[in-house]
């Protein structure tokens, strides 16, 4: 690990002042579960760390507007176990519990989860070219072992996926990401605008500006109907998704009133499938409808060889998730 200096910030404004003073080589650290791993491999080499793990941004509060305000420093485990989240936003609890291990969930923050880096093996292997790690080098995954890679929204520069389960649930919940930036400017960013597709700049992963701090995730009142997160992976636990689906489904008299669908493990960002939602809306809640929605969602999918199977897997996972959501409906 490269040497660095360390300081702890006690309030968000102090964290912003510290990163403004320290400059471009500084980084915030919270749970450390991804950043320290990358620092050990010298993929990340910050010269200065600002510890934000004790900022007073840990609370989960119901707002008078009916929204839920989740402090960015709340731990993944606390949010997953929160009674209000479990009853009103079960898809978020399910997605969090599908990710990492209990030890890591006790460490990792909500803000950090959104900012975790891809687990593409070529991003981690400094002996191979990677446009995300070293812009302009090329992408070893394009012709390499790309079994886990993106099938939607990828580019010739990068076919990495975003690894978060939580972010997929936030996508169907229409979460907003609240931030504090240099100059103490606040922003509220819809989740679907927060992460970026790779295009020609895969090293730029979110719309956050240098030094901008995530302070909270805000959830609107929950969507109608049943919520479900389903994850498909190579082993039963403690593994990243090949494909995952977050869905909400409201059915009245056999007809779908409202449905929201997002995929994980298929793109550089949590992939909200609006095309699938358009197919589902107003149609009978049948397997034929779900299959048509899956075909619409994956219509523009591109396989890269070893990951071709993920196109069919994503379709089947969506159909299975919607079938389960319809069955479980009370």
């Amino acid at each position: 690990m490269k040497p660095f200096t360390y300081e702890r910030a006690n309030d968000p404004e102090a964290a912003i002042a510290a990163i403004a003073a320290a400059g471009a080589d500084a980084k915030f650290i919270s749970g450390g579960t991804n950043l320290l791993d990358l620092m050990k491999l010298e993929i990340e080499q910050p010269a200065h760390l600002i510890d934000i793990s004790r900022l007073p941004l840990q609370e989960i509060d119901e707002l008078p507007t009916g929204e839920l305000h989740i402090g960015a420093q709340a731990r993944n485990s606390d949010v997953a176990a929160d009674r209000y989240v479990r009853t009103r936003y079960p898809v978020l609890s399910q997605a969090l519990l599908a990710g990492a291990s209990p030890q890591l969930r006790n460490m990792a923050s909500i803000g950090g989860n959104l900012l975790q880096r891809t687990r593409c093996v070529y991003f981690y292997d400094t002996a191979t070219p990677c446009n995300k790690r070293a812009p302009g080098e090329g992408c070893a995954a394009l012709g390499g072992f790309n079994r886990g890679h993106a099938i939607l929204g990828a580019s010739e520069s990068c076919i990495a996926t975003h690894p978060s389960d939580m972010a997929v649930a936030l996508a169907v919940l229409d979460a907003r990401i609240e931030t504090l930036g240099i100059g103490n400017i606040t922003r509220s960013i819809p989740i679907r605008d927060f992460h970026l597709l790779p295009e020609t700049t895969p090293h730029i992963e979110t719309v956050l500006l240098p030094g901008e701090l995530i302070t909270a995730v805000v959830l609107p009142p929950p969507p109608r109907g049943r919520q479900l997160y389903r994850k498909v992976r190579d082993r039963a636990s403690y593994e990243f998704a090949l494909v995952s689906v977050a869905a909400t489904l409201a059915i009245t008299n056999g007809v779908i009133d409202e449905a929201r669908v997002a995929f994980g493990g298929v793109a550089h960002k949590p992939w909200r499938a609006l095309e699938a939602e358009a197919v589902l809306h107003g149609r009978p809640a049948t397997v034929d409808t779900y299959t048509a929605a899956a075909d619409a969602a994956l219509a523009r999918a591109v396989g890269r060889g070893l990951n071709d199977f993920k196109i069919e897997l994503a379709k089947r996972t969506l159909v299975a998730t919607l079938m389960q959501a319809a069955e479980d409906r009370t």
Binding site: P3, A80, L97, P102, Q103
Partner: protein, 199 residues
Amino acid sequence: MARSNQGVERAREAKQVEKAAGRTVGDGTESVRFTVNRKPFRLELDPRTTLLDALREHIHLCGTKKGCDHGQCGACTVLVAGRRIGSCLTLAVMHDGDDIVTIEGLGTPDAMHPMQAAFLERDGYQCGYCTSGQICSAVAMLEEIKAGWPSHVTADVAAPHVELTDAELRERMSGNICRCAAYPNIVAAIRDVAEGDPS
């Protein structure tokens, strides 16, 4: 200039910025105080020191093991404020004021923690390298169940109580890898403690 020298140079420059800004940044080390197994410690550490290395190399409590050093195996599991974490993916300096418990703090050979006794009784290991982490993890895991925390295999995450099925125990212990595959006996040992029979 070699990359490593650049890194040192950048760290030095960053430190000068800090000093100019009036913040207290030590000369390559940071001071941290915490308690380990109820005993207070004050350490001067290179900020790169993980909690795992602080425990093993500075406090000489070698019961906590370094397996993968990347948060994937669970051998380094310790309890911080009663919660299980991976000590390899956290910096020691981030734990100022924390109460840390390691396998040595759970019990001794003469006065074992019920979970230690149950692992012994049930033969919940072969080589033993993952065992400290397994036991620390299991102790905290039973507290999580008592608190009603759901897991990935809980059918209804909103249910207030958790059924203590083998599937629940296995999912909740999935952050601790045992390459000897002593899993059946680990589950049996944990079940003994959970059911109040550390025989």
